[in-house]
Symmetry: C2
Subunit: 368 residues, 2 copies
């Protein structure tokens, strides 16, 4: 099975030997702290390193077991049944499920090629009770691969301030860039005000380490840290200390460059294959980074059908509907993750998908 | 400050060098699995090792970031506002807080020197709606240090079956025994039926690793694993794999023996000091293992007062009231953790506490 479903790094991205050495060195250098209970907000030295990178006090950084755990804490703190939460549509499916479990009223907001449409945010703010927050992934979005333009980032930072809107900026892919210039984060543009910034080492070091972090307004950081303490006393410091040691010895940047090189090949392979294999009316995003391409097949079969056909042919992906609240949207769209599979598998998998899509497209139908 | 408050192992209990080597070896042997996402229920090899020790299928074992995290999952799955939950009184304070946060109706059950009184369980079952579960720490209980007798364990296993009562048997201290014969767990006596068994490597390897586990009925295990996946995708495998490697190379048992030796000295020191320093009407438990002694000072000052005096004198402990739902109970009781402090500090700290207790006791008052 060729999997375009797995939004995870290819195995060769994992710096196994260096991380083994980092884990050992971290324990030898600071074993007593790492092996004991400690601050619920995370391993001190990593917290300080992250705080310095973001230009904030360490107390505003909360490191969690992957950023999803932090999202759960934040949602548990801010969402009660019926609370409105604004989301991009489409958006990452796991937060949608967590919000649904907590009984949130999830408000989907329109996106276009430049990402989230700011007017859609304003309309949603005018149309009902103040939302707990807006959840947005401005850079190389999951699932669409889209990146919010600079102008829109500025507008979102303004809206956060003017409308007292807490924006949760989830940024796991920001550093996973293959070309083009980095854009400032909404957090940076807003000088940290009214923005909760989240990121993770899952894409830059290793997902299995489960080290994500939040940069939060002071008061919210205290509340989330208290929730962390009452859930697990302190997080597993060994993973966090291993990441810190990896960074301390200067491996973070070179490893990121190596990883981005491996992933760029895959991004190139999928864009080439899509151009070669897809029917004329198909369209897809052209990400400068991240893990995902969003493919629209307006004349293809509904993705439910395509999904079944593809699995039979040995290819899998995630259906567009999974990324819309209540599954309303994305009926003829696919999320293709190119991060895990090899360039050769990508070529083969897209060719198989292309056959299925073309078989259903108008020109193909006409010849039947 | 001499701390009898910290229920954690003394620093010299931590096998820093061996764990550093285990972390490195684990990553070198199985780095790709450890550094990737995987089963939400925990690192496969450790899960299998635990399943074999408990004589169950690996699917019934769920490894969490410390056992408190598992307790949170279980409570979130089973407790709604108003749900009854039975607890020993006194009991571990953190679960009480979690249950209160979820709006549970917490029903405290009487204990005596042989631990939880089975008739109190029956009465509580007869007196109201079926509880979600009974939370019990049968061995070297936190905070009392008491151990449930064999007869009562058998009775509890029967009650679990006869009354369809889910018993959550929390057993972090069972292996931390300094003398006497081990008793079978309630889980063993009930052949695993209607019992959720929880334990942890916090006391046998290191608390900072945050590796706890649950052995659950099949269906509940599936539900808890699903909750784990939707909270953090997978747990941090590095800690779990380090514990597995530590066990695999045969270090678990010798380390436990070494740790128990260090803690036995402390247990001996506190019992000797209490006999020497406390007023005549004081009484305390005589644990064969674990971390805690429960001290009753019937004629002492209320522990609020004693606590303030003790802090001034340079000694601290946890007030008895913290271990009763709503703080109703334990007004003249103290939990003394002897695990963290050295034997010399124990002697000094108990002498200071003894001075304060004697100053308030009847005979001492008479001489004033």
């Amino acid at each position: 099975m060729i999997s375009f479903a797995r939004g995870v790094p290819a195995p060769e991205c994992l710096a196994v030997e260096e991380l083994a050495e980092s884990a050992r060195a971290a324990l030898e250098r600071d074993g007593h702290s790492i092996l004991s209970y400690g601050p619920g907000g995370g391993y001190g030295p990593l917290r300080e390193w992250l705080a310095e990178r973001h230009g904030v006090e360490p107390g505003r950084v909360v490191i969690t077991s992957g950023s999803l755990q932090g999202f759960v804490f934040l949602a548990e703190q801010l969402v009660r049944p019926g609370t409105r939460v604004l989301v991009e549509a489409p958006t990452y499916d796991r937060p949608l499920k967590i919000l649904a479990r907590l009984g949130a009223e999830i408000v989907p907001l329109e996106m276009d090629e430049e990402g989230l449409v700011p007017e859609a945010v304003e309309e949603a703010l005018d149309a009902g009770a103040a939302p707990a927050f807006l959840y947005a992934i401005p850079t190389f979005q999951n699932p669409s691969g889209r990146t919010l333009s600079l102008e829109r980032r500025q507008r979102l930072a303004e809206l956060a301030r003017e409308r007292q809107l807490l924006v949760l900026e989830d940024d796991p892919y920001g550093l996973v860039r293959y070309e083009g210039e980095s854009l400032p984060s909404v957090f940076e543009l807003a000088a940290g005000e009214s923005i909760a910034y989240a990121s993770s080492f899952s894409k830059t070091v290793a997902p299995g380490l489960r080290v994500g972090w939040f940069v939060l307004p002071q008061q919210l950081a205290k509340e989330i840290e208290a929730l962390a303490v009452s859930t697990y006393i302190s997080p597993p410091f060994l993973s966090q200390a291993t990441v810190f040691e990896f960074a301390r010895r200067g491996s973070f940047e070179p490893n990121l460059e190596r990883v981005n090189g491996l992933l760029r090949e895959r991004r190139d392979a999928i864009l080439e294959a899509l151009a070669r294999e897809m029917p004329e009316d198909a369209s897809w995003t052209q990400p400068d980074g991240g893990y995902f391409v969003w493919l629209d097949l307006p004349s293809g079969p509904p993705t439910d059908e395509l999904f079944a056909q593809a699995e039979e042919a040995g290819v899998t992906f995630v259906k567009g509907t999974d990324f819309f609240p209540g599954g309303r949207g994305g009926e003829r769209s696919l999320r293709l993750a190119f991060s895990f599979v090899s360039p050769d598998e990508i070529a083969e998998g897209i060719s198989l998908l292309g056959n299925l899509a073309r078989a259903a497209a108008p020109s193909a139908s006409a010849t039947l």
